[in-house]
Amino acid sequence: MRIALFITCFNDTLFPDTGKAVVHLLERLGHTVEFPPSQTCCGQMHFNTGYRPEAMPLVAGFVRTFGGYDAVVTPSASCAGMVRDSHPVLADQYGDDQLRREVGELVPKVHEFTEFLTDVLGVTDVGAAFPHRVAYHPTCHSLRGLRLGDRPERLLRAVRGLELVDLERPDSCCGFGGTFAVKNADTSAAMLADKTGEVTSTGADVLCAADNSCLMHIGGGLSRQGSAVRTMHLAEILASTEGDPR
């Protein structure tokens, strides 16, 4: 199985440790991962902000980059959701028959990271160790977009030493929403304030999620409030071992 890592432009630039964690973990599980260097962005920001024609070159680029692989794994639920739900919409609206066909063939091969572990590789215990109190925030794209269900929690529960604590109102949006946080900054901040309060009240050391974008937003709020709670992508927890702790 030829596995490609789709790091996403956001993680590539701001959260490279998440990508390294994915690579280390998959290698530890005995798989070879490739990083097609021509990859850039799925076009989510453009699509969600209404700039559809501007997203088209990115859809075409995505198909060119990843078309030849058996599996594409990405540590971002929202980008996986963009590819799965919106690339077909864009291909229908602006693409030709060939692009529609290529998108249709590629989409089923694109997996969010926890889906890839549990559904494609069939593992739940990845041999990780992380002796901390951890809260998991199901991001909207994990929960309602991809319907990851309890996959992330199953993976976290198998981590040695990890104490998983419940977040109050786990299904409520953190208020990030991409450009929403800029266009509707006040509403976003009000949602964030509720979320950071809920995170703090868990007493967790670490808040994790399957999307660094939401974590950047929540972590940014926690940092501004002087909170000691760390935010970490789920993959970094799963990559952590006794010999190589994070």
Binding site: T13, K20, G50, R52, A55, G178, A189, A190, S223
Partner: protein
């Protein structure tokens, strides 16, 4: 109610834009407390009663399919409804827009004759369609008083306020405010509030009962909306709780029902789906206290004259959009409002429309034209809670992104120079189509970010990112992007 009509005849304030209106609402801490409590309560009730039905998803699928069948052949169903209602002794009127519907209703009220003081007033059942067309204001201009009889609508009317929720229009007001309002305003409209009125909800409901009863007993004309109308039988249904609907539908001599054309159902049998979906989704009850159904007129029981006004008012335009069309599935249950994290913080007034919340964000721009409501499709994080809650499976996030694209295209068409945002998006694409350019940008961002950062964190920023950075730190971009790390560590390139 102080609304203005847009060009197409939908009561819509349009200004201020959502982000500004939201800022005002967010500053009202009591409003936020009221909303948080109310939406949380309804959410829990809804989840409980929908959870009782193990085939809830099958019911949703059926509801969506019935609506699809309805909309794809709307002309056929409306003609059939017209025939059935007429056969049962009703009169059907067609209104292309708000002005026409208001004119029809006004003339019908005037034609009921009788003594002046009788015909110069109508009693009303809470109805979104008549709010949408500003019927009360139009009747007032014609010298006809329209009394809202739903408790929350009465509160809003006495306060000269605007509804802020589809189902609970006075959700933004607390009991103490309502008490004061009743004590000062009821006397101006009829029977005054009892002496020594307290803010106990039961006492307030009793005051409303007494105030409205004299209006019900003397009313000659009632105006209602409709939740459903069955094309095959001509049966119209109104779903309610208080009994004010039954009063209006039963006691007056003339009943005028204003109904959006999308409310028709192909068959009587289809009600078996919606009478399960609607109460459980809206009030979180297995069944609402009262549902009235009538077919034309029944001698000796209820009104002697029944008029059904079929209202287009932008709906056929909405129908023409094959993606946006699904917004016409809406049965006005308001489940999407109650689960929406944005609505929970801002309340309904920020949406500037009689249709607030997620459904308002997709319906209002389609009814009034996206160019007039350009901020509404962006008033969402696309979190998807509304889609999951919707009993007729309106994919609201899908319609939101669709309308965002229409807003952007409308703005593009309307200006000679691209907006700063459009330029930024174009520039982003130019960078992102090329891995090399992305690499340069990453190095630039790392340098710039580090220059701005203190201890790895970027604090407050000026310009367009002020709103973002006012409440959040941003991590400084690391010196090494992932792709650089990969090249060095997996492809053996020397740094």
């Amino acid at each position: 109610m102080s609304g203005t009509m847009d060009g197409r005849g939908v009561v819509f304030l349009g200004s201020p834009a959502f982000p500004d209106a939201a800022r005002t609402a967010l500053a009202d801490t009591r409003l936020r407390t009221n909303l948080r409590r109310a939406t949380t309560t309804i959410r829990d009730k809804r989840l409980q009663v929908t959870g009782e039905l193990d085939d809830w998803e099958d019911l949703r699928a059926a509801g969506e399919a019935v609506k699809r069948r309805t909309l794809r052949h709307l002309d056929v169903h409306l003609l059939r409804l017209e025939e059935s209602v007429t056969r049962a002794g009703g009169v059907v009127h067609w209104a292309a827009d708000a002005a026409e519907a208001n004119r029809i209703v006004t003339e019908l009220v005037r034609a009921t004759g009788g003594r002046d003081d009788e015909t110069r007033e109508v009693v009303k059942i809470k109805s979104m369609a008549t709010q949408e067309i500003g019927l009360n204001e139009a009747l007032a201009e014609a010298g006809i008083a329209a009394y809202e009889t739903d408790l929350a609508e009465l509160i809003v009317q006495l306060a000269d306020d605007r509804p802020s929720h589809i189902l609970v229009p006075a959700i933004h007001l607390g009991r103490a405010e309502i008490r004061d309002l009743f004590a000062t305003e009821m006397a101006r409209w009829g029977r005054p509030a009892p002496e020594g009125l307290t803010d106990d909800p039961a006492a307030l409901a009793e005051a409303a009962r007494l105030h409205l009863r004299e209006k019900f007993l003397r009313a000659k004309v009632a105006v209602s909306g409709a939740n459903f109308a069955c094309a095959d039988t001509g049966t119209v249904a109104v779903v309610e709780s208080e009994g004010n609907g039954r009063m209006c539908l039963t006691l007056p001599e003339t009943l005028i029902t204003v109904m959006g054309i999308e409310k028709v159902l192909p068959s009587w049998r289809d009600l078996e789906v919606f009478l399960q979906l609607l109460p459980r989704s809206s009030t979180g009850e297995r069944m609402n206290p009262y549902t009235s159904m009538w077919t034309g007129v029944t001698p000796g029981d209820g009104p002697r004259a029944f008029h059904l006004v079929l209202l287009d008012n932008g709906r056929s335009d909405t129908l023409a959009d094959t993606v946006g069309r699904q917004a016409l599935n809406c049965i006005r249950c308001s489940a999407c409002l109650n689960v929406c994290p944005v609505y929970e913080r801002t309340g309904g007034h920020a949406y500037g429309s009689v249709y607030p919340g997620p459904i308002g964000a997709v319906l209002t721009p389609q009814l009034v034209g996206v160019e007039h409501a350009a901020s509404l499709p962006f008033a969402s994080t696309l979190c998807g809670a509304c889609y999951d809650a919707c009993p007729v499976k309106i994919n609201i996030p899908e319609v939101l992104t669709h309308l965002r694209a229409e807003v952007v295209e409308a703005k593009r068409a309307g200006r000679r120079l691209p907006s700063p945002e459009a330029l930024a998006m174009k520039a982003a694409t130019a960078v992102l189509v090329s891995p090399a350019r992305l690499g340069y940008a990453q190095r630039a961002a790392a340098l710039g970010g580090r220059a701005l950062a203190r201890r790895g964190r970027i604090g407050r920023l000026p310009g367009p990112f002020r709103g973002w950075s006012d409440s959040r730190d941003t991590p400084a971009p690391p010196t090494e992007s992932f792709r650089t790390w990969w090249r060095k560590n997996r492809e053996g390139e020397q740094g």
